[in-house]
Each structure stands twice: as C-alpha cells, then as structure tokens.
Symmetry: C2
Subunit: 359 residues, 2 copies
C-alpha cells in the first residue's frame, strides 16, 4: 500500500528530511548515549542556536526542552503566576489553558469569543493586577490567528505583566517579535514536522526572575521543572529529566534544514499555500470558510464548514491517500481542518486543492 500523506493539524506529515536524519541517528547511536553526555549536549546546543537564529530570539532568552506544550501550560502556572492569570479564549486549546489555571486553584480571568471569531483585545479590559497574559498565536482547533500587533499593544498597556504566547502550529511560520513576550512555546509535531514527544519553551529573563520571586515568597514552584532548575541544567545544555533525546537531535537537524532553505522562503510559501487553500474552500460548492474575518485566518491551519457530514469529504480524500483533519470537539462531522505546514510543499497543497475540487 502506498504511504498516506498527512495534512492533519495534530501530528502531521514528518518533515521531508526526517527519515534521512533517523538513519543518521541510528548510525550515531543517538538513542543510546547518555542524556548528559557531550554528544547529547551538542544536540541541545545546536537545536537552541538554530532556533534562535531561525526565529530571531533574543540572545538572553533561554530555550528549554520539556515533554509537551501541554506540560508547559502547567509549568507556566506554577512558575509565573501566584494568583492572577488572564486568558484569551477562542477555541479548545486556549480554553484548556484557562481550565488548567482553575484546576490549579488560581484566580484566572478570561476574554472569550465564539469558536471561529475573536475576543475583544482592548488592553484596558485586562485587570491591572494581572501577572500573566496568555494568547494562542494560532488556535489549532478553529484556525483563528491572533494578530501580533494586538500582542504588542497589550504589552505596551501592561508593561509589568508577563506575556505568554502559545506558538503551537504557528512557529516558525508566524513572525513574532520575541522581545515583546516573556514565554513562548510549541510542540514539535506541528510545523517542525517531528515525531511527538517534545515541548519547547522559550523564556525571557523577566520570567525567570518572576519564578524566583514566587519561590522567595514561600510558594512552591514545583521541583525538577521549576524555572531556576531548568536554567541551571539548560545553561549546561542539559534537560532536567531524561528527555526525548532523539527528538532534540531531530530538531537540531530539521532547524538546520530550515535555516538552509531560509525562513523567508518558508513564510512566503506558507502565505501562498494558505491563500490557495482558502481560495479552494471559497470556490468549493460544499465548503465555506469557518473564520469570516480574512485577517484572522491562520496561515498554517485552514478550517472549513462542510455541507452535510464532513466524513464524506474526509473519507473520499482518504481513499486517494490524503489524510485531513476533522472538526475539533463539537465541530467534528461539521468541519474539515487542513494543515499546510513547512513540510507540505506548494505542489502537494496544489494537488490536494485540485483533488478537493473534484469531490
């Protein structure tokens, strides 16, 4: 059976060079070396340097490797919030982060919007005593993106609050000025096209200070993943636990490939692929764009309402070897979601669009 092509916005197609890098990993015995060996530290260091170079992350920001973006939600609450977090909620994932804060017995507040639309981002609506303000650059459940200009305006109005940006399915495609935020994170199975099992946390010096302040005031900030501990190990290019060394190695390789290709090319292609997908959705007799406001449409996850059960389209595509995503949660059966990540070539998206039009 020929291989399927995954356009799902969860785990998705692996980056086109991953298979080759896996062969190198076997040859170099990446899966067998100690996670505190010079060899493993080298993978960590290269991955950090490549990420900083690729996304223009300030030199004094730290990059830590955890197990998932989901874990990073928790670590942010533990390290960066004593009581008051503020969450923009406009889809399943941004809502879930808010729910975590409630589970942790904090006093989270939120600005909400219906799925597919966008909350009011007027900074004056955020309480003055907010310690951490959170938004998802790209709500993977709805395909709604958060304009970076709005982040910068919020930063200006609340210079003392920490800003935490969910970059899952956005980085490195979305261009963010990292100096305007204190915490940014993603998991590698989206735009970086890697096997699942690794979360990447980008942290400002201010965020690390906040964790130290919280601890100094007598609050627990956890143990092995507490930011001062992450810092202590991270400056040695070591994780605080036996992390997924293979994934860190693969990340070091794929970020190298992306640097070679050029992020400007990747971003230009993303715009083209997204425009093509939305054009196809608008032309298609059985599809309509879920996000009405064009400037809020994600460049990496296109979401469409379907006439009738979305299973018809999903299954017809699957028969041809294309795997796309279903609607998320309550939208299952009513929508399709299509990832156009850096590993999805223009030609592949064109082929998918052409095939969609025949259905």
């Amino acid at each position: 059976m020929p291989k399927k092509i995954f356009f799902t916005p969860g785990p998705s197609a692996i980056y086109f060079t991953v298979e080759e890098h896996l062969r190198t990993a076997l040859k170099d015995q990446v899966m067998e070396v100690n996670h505190r060996s010079t060899q493993a530290e080298g993978y960590y260091k290269t991955a950090v340097e490549n990420l900083k170079s690729l996304m223009d992350i300030p030199e004094d920001y730290q990059i830590f490797f955890l197990s998932s973006a989901t874990e990073i939600w928790e670590r942010q609450l533990q390290n960066l919030v004593i009581e008051n977090s503020f969450h923009y909620c406009y889809g399943a994932f941004s809502n879930r982060f808010y729910d975590f804060a409630a589970d942790w017995h904090l006093k989270p507040q939120k600005a909400t919007a219906e799925f597919g639309s966008f909350p009011n981002t007027d900074p004056s609506l955020i309480p003055a005593d907010t310690e951490l303000i959170s938004m998802a650059l790209n709500e993977t459940s709805t395909g709604v993106s958060f304009p970076t200009e709005d982040i910068y305006a919020i930063r200006k109005a609340h210079p003392d609050a920490l800003i935490a940006v969910d970059g899952v399915s956005a980085f490195p495609v979305v261009d963010l000025d990292f100096s305007q935020v204190d915490s940014a994170y993603f998991s590698v199975q989206k735009c970086f096209g890697l096997p699942a099992g690794l979360g990447v946390w980008i942290v400002s010096p201010r965020a690390i200070e906040k964790s130290e302040q919280k601890r100094a005031r007598g609050h627990s900030i956890g143990s092995y993943q507490a930011l001062p501990n992450l810092l202590k190990n991270g400056t040695k290019y070591q994780t605080t636990f036996t992390a997924n060394v293979l994934d860190i190695f693969l990340l070091s390789k794929v970020t190298g490939d992306m640097l070679e290709k050029g992020l400007d090319v990747i971003r230009r292609e993303a715009k083209y692929k997204s425009a093509l997908l939305y054009h196809t959705i608008e032309q298609h007799p059985k599809l309509s764009a879920f996000v009405p406001d064009k400037k809020l449409r994600s460049e990496t996850v296109a979401v469409a309402n379907t006439e009738g059960d979305s299973a018809a389209i999903i299954n017809a595509l699957k028969d041809k070897g294309f795997v796309i995503g279903n609607g998320y949660g309550a939208y299952k059966g009513k929508q399709i979601r299509i990832a156009s990540f850096p590993t999805h070539s223009k030609e592949l998206i064109e082929l998918l669009a052409d095939t969609l039009m025949t259905l």
Copy 2:
C-alpha cells in the same frame, strides 16, 4: 567506525529488535498518525496488554503513559499525598524523590542509609499516619536492590498506606507481586531498551480512589495528569497529551518480543549475567564490589569501586568499543557501573567480563 556497545545504566543499548521496529514504524507512518486515532490507540492497548501479561499485573490495575519516571514522582505527590509521605533513601534517585516532596511543601519523612548500604526496613519505624511509602526496587546510582519480601512485610504492617515502587532499571527483571503495591513506575530507556522519552505508570484502584479523595477535600491534584483524567483517557487507550507515540509503538513491539522469548528466560539470564559480573569484579585486582551484602546487589546494575581513577578503566574499555557507566555524583571517578539489561546477551556480558580481566 564500528558501533559502540553501551553498557551504561542510563540510556543504554537499544533492544536488539528496535532498529527493525523503527523500519516498521516508518512503513506504518507511526510518527504521523494522530495520537487519538484508532491506530495509535492500538499501540497503547497492545503495550498495556503485553505489560500486564509479561509482569502479571492485576487486571484491575491501570497503566498510563507519561513522559518520564521523574514526572511520575511529581504526579504521585500531587495525586496520592495530602501531607505525609515516607521515603526509603539509599542513593541519588530515592533521595531525589524525597527532595521533590519537600519542594512541593509536603511533610516527607525518610529512613536513610549510606550509599551502598541499606536502610532499616522495620515497618514499625514508619509513622502510622503515613499516606504513601516509597522505595526503589533498584537504586540505579548505587546498585542496591530493595528485597521484595521487605515490601510485603511493610504492606502487611501498614495496610492503609499506599505503596509506591520505583521500578526504573528493575522492571521487568525483578519479580514483584504488583497486587501488594499501589503505584509502580519505570522509564523505558533502561531494561526495555527503548529510546528515552516515555514513563510508564502502573496504578491500583486504591490509588485512583485516593486522588479522588484528595480532590474532594479541596486540594488541587493538578490538571491533565491528575489520575481521574489519566483514567478517563486511559480507558480509551489515549494519553492526556500528545505523548511519544513512537515510543509507545516500540514498547508494544519489544514487550511482544519479550513475551515470545519468555520472561523466565530473561530473568534466568539476568541472574547469570549478574553473577558473572560480580565474580569478575571480585577476581579483578583493581576492582571491588561496592555493595557488601550479596543479597542486596542489583541484578541489572553492577557497581564496583576502582583502585585509582575509574577513568582509566572506562577509557580503556571505550577504546575497545565498550561504553560503561561512571560512578554517580560524588562517586564519579571512583566507581564504575555496568548495566546488564535484557538486551545485553550472555555472550556480550562474557565478552565484557573477559575484556575487563585483561585491564
């Protein structure tokens, strides 16, 4: 350059079938399927069924996949302890779990012993109000094992406390009666010979009840990895986050291989390999066993004091392609540690022993 053979007790040699299973993973696109797809659920289910069958785990116990054994230390404290945990501390890892409890602002107590020796396990020394009693079956830092008979005696004397067993570098080699414990856990990069990035948590119904009681009393038990949440997803063979699907797949395969070989064979071989390694250590002019009490010596990690700097032996072996472990922490440079995990064949351990004797 020929491949090295890893006898390190951290990440170690991968199980001899892993490379073949990686090829299958690429063919079956394991790294690309959604973690909530039927395909991924199948890997979870097979891994659980194989583990239960392999180690004779009671049917009503649950098995959850987290990111590491380190993480499971934290989740145990969050879910299973309101205030009082008790820790047997006789090496770096058992001490670290105790430190975690302090970091989490609990009131941990401990029974300690010098590295290489063993604490007093008289059950009457454990306070009556202890909620959770913890021990490591195998202290990977020292090569000291905790006799299972002592666990059963503690259980008998404290029937209401939960018992938590660290099985890292012990499972599946050490034969534990799981019905006598409530929480048991390991990470897959030791005896299962898999790439790092997955922790396995085996949980009794009593433990799940305890987490529900703790929450009902108004305490936070965390969010996505809270036991009731792990249970809700686990009964569907799903993780609560985008876990290392590749590792779960590989675990399902390697446990299948182990079932085919037979755990009795694996355990018999472990006894032989351990006896051979300790015999070699005792015969060797520059080595002496670290653990004086023969019945406390681990069957999977042999530890020896070295005459002079251990680097001499470690480097001489490395030149011949054998990578062994250094002493842990303060014992670095003073000891060697050698893993004899299931992937290390009798012949390989014999070759290593012969080579050691020439140094």
